[in-house]
Amino acid sequence: MTGWLPFEWIAASRFLREGRLQTVAILLGIGIGVGVIVFMSAALAGQQANIVRRVLSAQAHIVLIPAREIARPLRGGQPGVAEAAIIQKPLQRVRSIDQWQKIIQEVDALPEVTAVSPMASGAAIAQRGEANRSVTLQGVDAERYFRIVPLPEKIVSGQPRLGAEDIIVGVDLATDLGVRVGDKMRVAVGTGQGATLTVSGIVDLGTKGANQRLTYVALHTAQALLGLIGGVSSIDLTVNDIYAAEDIAQRIQALTGVEADSWIRTNAQLYLAINAQVIANTTIRFFVGLAIAFGIAAVLIVSVVQKSKEIGILRAMGGSRGQILRVFLLQGAVLGLLGSLVGSALGGLAIVLWGVLVKNPDGTPLFPLDLDPKLFLAAALLATLSGLIAAFVPALRGARLDPVVAIRG
């Protein structure tokens, strides 16, 4: 008898092999279902990662800014007197985050935070000859900032260098002003402060808005221009789990007292769209999984009826209810596991085909779907488990068969 396996294994495998056509048909059914689930999961993850990567590659996951200035009327209301106070909203000056060095240390110590970078930013006018454009001046510490936004990867010409006299500009701004790497341009802020800087690099940030507006200079250059000596206007963070960014932001806010905005809040529409996609996708996957489970259950119900005589004999020969139960549970689990192997192969094939067939106009894949081994492991585990659960009712029916009726029938 096949090896020294327990009775339940031997009987389950023999029964499955005996009903060959049934077994093959249900395995194909499970396989197609699991294949769809595998492919959809990979597609979802790939697409999501693609969108998020495009969006987040040019921005921090969390931005810390000083708490907003709020006007508080100092007049206390006298009892019984209603005051119709007109409160003028305060101007939001460019201000520094109070004790920002200490905050950076605190935030850096959090395990979820992967990079921290201070920034001094404000509005400015970029001028060259007759042309001028309003820009956002961002003063950063190059070494720290490049870990948040990888500017070196986005350079189209020049160097990602930020010396005291250097400025990096977006491609559209460079076109508008007619500057090339090495050219000089003047940057002035509203107070009249200004400096002449040399273009060290030109970057493509992915969107036209950013390419027209964003400029990068050294932190102390911006501090001097914006009148923020020794101060920073915001702190950029990246975190290890981008979907936890909002939670982390709230914790940082509670910890430091400064305002923390996560990308989830600043890109609420995008986040909602991604979420809707996840829900739709999960729903489909759930119902495909359910269809698989019912398929397994249907096959096993038929199998119990077909095998009722054998079940009766086994019981008459001293087989226990538990043994019968396990024989059919095992069949369910084995069908689930084998089906998931077929499904993983089909899903994997679909993913590979996607990479080969569905391409951008430039020949690169539309978005990459990665063959994550964890996905296949999860599919196998889930399918086995649902096979086991699906087998439960038929197995119980088999175990409860009255041997007398079963043998006579």
Binding site: M1, W4, L5, I10, M317, G319, Q323, R408
Partner: protein
């Protein structure tokens, strides 16, 4: 004197208890079978033979009355204990041989021991080999049960019934489906087991020629024992 292998006292069986169609098929059966007896149970169709056999085989429970198997009163036992007692003391041979088609002849013979011990071992394989040899089917040991003739299948079934060295062998028309020659062969096999091992055998049969070769004939009509004759 040793305990009888089977002892029935006032065993009644009704079907459809509590419904308007309640019918009693056994009316107070008393019967005892000693070790080494070879007893034929005869009676017309619907007389309650199979019901009696199922009750003795612990596949069914009596509505009232007492049944002892190998000295053990079975009334208070739960399903698990009954299954165990059945596995250890009773071997079955059914009319339609009832081998399990997905298994080979050898595996079918091993099955009762396998169910008892949980996983196969060399000892049970050897025991099954010996049993298969004793019914003259060694060369068929690796054939699937379905690929054998009716007589061969029934001999495998007898070998299987003996796997646990039961004290009692119950056979429900074991030859009813076979030609005369095969029927005599299977019967001879059972008689040989009865003589050499002292196994008590209760065999339901319609075949008078075979019944006359037994040591005792019990007649049952309408759920009552009418004659009990030792030969």
């Amino acid at each position: 004197m040793a305990e009888p292998v089977i002892k029935l006292e006032g065993v009644c069986k009704s079907y459809g208890v509590g419904t308007p169609v309640e019918t009693e098929v056994l009316h107070g059966v008393d019967l005892a079978l000693e070790r080494g007896e070879f007893c034929a149970l005869m009676g017309p169709s619907g007389s309650g033979k199979s019901t009696l056999l199922n009750i003795i085989g612990l596949l069914d429970r009596p509505t009232s009355g007492q049944l002892s198997i190998a000295g053990r009163v079975t009334g208070g036992l739960d399903d698990k204990a009954l299954t165990q007692l059945r596995g250890h003391t009773i071997g079955f041979v059914f009319q339609y041989h009832h081998l399990i088609p997905a298994f080979t002849a050898l595996e079918n013979v091993m099955m009762p021991i396998l169910l008892e011990r949980g996983r196969p071992d060399a000892a049970m394989r050897q025991r099954a080999d010996e049993l298969l040899a004793s019914v003259g089917l060694t060369q068929w040991r690796d054939n699937l049960a379905l690929n054998m003739s009716g007589g061969q299948q029934q001999r495998v079934a007898v070998a299987r019934a003996l796997a646990m060295k039961p004290a009692l062998l119950l056979a429900d028309e074991p030859t009813g489906n076979l030609d005369t020659h095969s029927a005599q062969g299977v019967f001879d096999l059972m008689r040989q087991v009865n003589r050499t091992q002292g196994t008590a055998i209760l065999i339901v049969t319609h075949n008078h020629a075979l019944a006359e070769q037994c040591s005792r004939i019990v007649q049952i009509v309408d759920g009552r024992i009418t004659t009990d004759r030792r030969l």
